[in-house]
Symmetry: C3
Subunit: 365 residues, 3 copies
């Protein structure tokens, strides 16, 4: 597809690849792409947010990749490729300029493989990785250094496990799953029952099931199910330090930012977005397409498509209204105080109105 990977590109070629409009000399070449305030003269600057427009004037970039709205910030005389969808275009160029390194395919001699381990074609296993009895790994999957795959773990094709991932026994990963360093998949759920003055552990006998095209961030933890499975749906992505408790089910294409915690048995729909540090209580439903604003704390079901925020989370508009009311409380207190004075005056037999108007009021005495 791209047999020139990593090589400089002419601006004509850039425009062709990203489906953009070229403004300037098409034969000029660029060697890479960088933030507008960091780009060198041999690079393109990427400008897709008004926030960074103020850096455009001082940019040393040799060319710009820019959206139509921000076109006017490109300094005079600097060529530009103008493109409506900036991020897919950026992605295309990054994939060209930063091709993945060609890494050796081999099972490192220090890897410990148990009985009945089955490895597909082209599988790599890093130094000191441990694959316990009955593990199965699909074709072209890379298992990083120090990974531990427990008994009977099943990993699909073309996955990438960074170093020091631990997958507990019986967990299942689909195809093209990416797992970052230190993630734990299939750890025991937090389940105890109090008997005779002790917390007795409930056996956690379900599995953790990670569907195709999922990405899991560094040091995230996904518990196995207690009864039944924990499921992370196709194409969903977790950032770092995310916690999914036992029996959580997440639908397809959802995105959870860092430090999110979802408590036991909660069901999250498809295409749900959760900001960083969001917390969701147990046994709830979060509907398809819901948006949970950064750090909100969800104690009730969220309807499909709903945007919630705050602590406790509520519909975002309601939250804003409450905030505004709280901010106006000061004024409300002042209004009540004023009313009290006016009523006192009325009760004393001289209405505040008369004071304002300077009118005599003997008749009310």
């Amino acid at each position: 597809m791209d047999d020139l990977r990593g090589a400089p590109l002419t601006l004509s070629e850039v425009a062709r690849r990203v489906g953009g409009r070229l403004e300037g000399p098409g034969e000029r070449t660029v060697e890479g792409i960088a933030p507008v305030d960091e780009a060198a003269p041999t690079q393109m600057a990427f400008l897709a947010s008004k926030r960074y427009a103020r850096y455009a004037d001082g940019s040393r970039a040799g060319a710009f990749l820019v959206t139509p709205e921000l076109r006017r910030y490109v300094p005079d005389g600097v060529p530009a490729v103008v493109v409506r969808d900036a991020y897919p275009a950026l992605r295309t160029l990054l994939e060209h300029f930063h091709p993945p390194e060609a890494l050796e395919v081999r099972v490192h001699p220090t890897a410990v493989l148990g009985r009945d381990v089955r490895l597909g074609e082209g599988v790599s296993v890093g130094p000191y990785a441990v694959l316990e009895d009955g593990v199965e790994v699909g074709a072209h999957t890379r298992i990083g250094a120090h990974c531990v795959l427990g008994r009977r773990v099943c990993v699909g094709n073309a996955c990438l496990l960074h170093p020091q991932v631990v997958v507990y026994p019986d967990s299942v990963l689909g195809d093209r799953v990416v797992v970052h360093a230190g993630a734990r998949i299939g750890s025991d759920g937090f389940g105890f029952t109090f008997v005779d003055g002790r917390h007795l552990k409930m056996p956690q006998v379900g599995r953790a099931v990670i569907e195709d095209d999922v990405e899991i961030g560094a040091n995230s933890t996904i518990d196995r199910g207690s009864l039944g499975d924990t499921v992370l749906g196709r194409g969903s992505k977790l950032d770092n330090l995310v916690h999914l408790a036992h029996n959580v089910k997440v639908g397809a294409l959802s995105l959870f930012a860092a430090l999110v915690g979802v408590a036991g048995s909660t069901r999250v729909g498809e295409r749900v977005w959760m900001g960083g540090q969001v917390g969701v209580s147990n046994h709830l439903h979060v509907g398809d397409g819901a948006r949970l604003a950064i750090a909100c704390k969800v104690m009730r079901d969220v309807r499909p498509g709903e945007t919630v925020s705050g602590h406790p989370a509520r519909p975002h508009r309601e939250q804003l209204r409450n905030q505004a009311r709280l901010n106006r409380l000061e004024k409300l207190v002042a209004r009540v105080r004023a009313l009290e004075e006016r009523v006192r005056a009325l009760e004393a037999g001289h209405g505040g109105g008369e004071r304002h108007h300077g009118a005599g009021d003997g008749g009310n005495g």
Copy 2:
């Protein structure tokens, strides 16, 4: 005790083991237990929450384990074992149907053992584990792959350390302690003193002491004490990604859900429950039996038995009252506006009362 572990059970036998009442044919057998919406015809369904009652009608389960209150949801003709305490009963059956795997007892040849390491009878050490000088491990403890026990660490009997646990030097673990993958015990507390324009590190010379029957979740971190020790009390349980800072003391039988953080020197009593993402500030006391609702942020001492919630945390009833007030603010504003109009009318010399009553009022003019 249970020489048939893993084998199918007759319903009579189920009823006998869980101390339940059998309703239906005692000779029918079941091979396992599963959630009501997932159970196969050869399995029992577990039904202990009204939330899942709606799945009962469509369940394919061959029998139900159910509480008296939910008995009526069991479909006609399906046998049931009725039991008051559902979770201990479930635990009994899970322990029967899912006996622990018989694992080999051995010190893996790749484990690195320092000088003066003492291992009790029946200790297992996984591949690539590192036990530094002076480590002591009690009988029948299992140390997972890649664990690192620092110098002079002392681990009791019958503990289970999952893979990639790091225990810093001089830490102490009691008996029957379970530690999940990636937990860090005895890391340095966050202590610095600002001198001459630099944050100088305070030596952290206390220990982390984990008492008997504690369980620690995946990727949780427990700092050592700075002066004096950090202590996690007997039978307490931590979920994943929990942080205990230096010199925190936690009493017996407390439960902390995922992503909880407790700041330095705070003392937490016995049987305290903290929901997910709870934060507790430093140098506080949380009394015995307190309940800290999900994600609440505790800035003041919590009294024994008290339930707190919110940000900042306050007594839960007060929190609810404040929320309700905030929600009613809209109405309060409307009432004040109405009062202002009525007072204006009174001041102008014609009371609103007359308007309402339609009474003549020449005398007030």
Copy 3:
């Protein structure tokens, strides 16, 4: 400098080393320093907070290290060293009484070193560590067991990496950097672009750059930049389980407590303090010297020197005022209710004032 490290000290010598005033017999010796409620007769008690003054009377300590304000709590007859800056003094004594262990300098034979790895003088590499191709490590740096340094990672002089740290390819660490167990440096940022019904991964091609004298807590995660670098500034310190997203820039000497999350591209100034569980949204500026109170959730820029708190975070004084108002809402509601009654009375033609004053009012009837 201190050729008696670890040995007992006379109180005269203690006073000399910490620049304090001796009160009592200078020739008495102490063997260590401990919390006031834990110190043995051979140790000094450390008393620098009023919170712990109540333990002074029952203390078994042989002497006190104490601030002038708390001098009066030292029991009669117990010698004391009085010092204004207690924490630097404590640090001096801890460094004396707890000298670092002399550890062997060697590259463990099980360490896996790739091609073109360059190690400075006196570098230690622990068991099973993996240093990939092109890694460079400065003089006297210690790399713990199971650490993984990705391709071309560059680590400075005199660093300390505890066990199981993973540093992704191309990351850079300065001199004297301390990294605790399980920290992940340079993991991919959370960047996807939605094309044709899928979240496509944005290549993350920037670096993670950790400057001199930084300390990073256990299981913290610092993502590499997407375009451009993520930078953690000179002398800054992170506690455990902290998350810095891609392209975050943190200035010098900032302190972040545990479970803090900073979202993508946010710029944090110098000497900023963040309490535990603080969250900062993306693309924000947090000015130099700002203080972000425990668990506050920052959705807007924070000015230099500003203190913010709450959810959403706002200036702390404003937050307190809002809290106070909310608490007084009950009273405000009562005042409005009273006003309504009084206005009703006025409207009905008999002012409440007369009722209070007991005055006749026939004229208004």
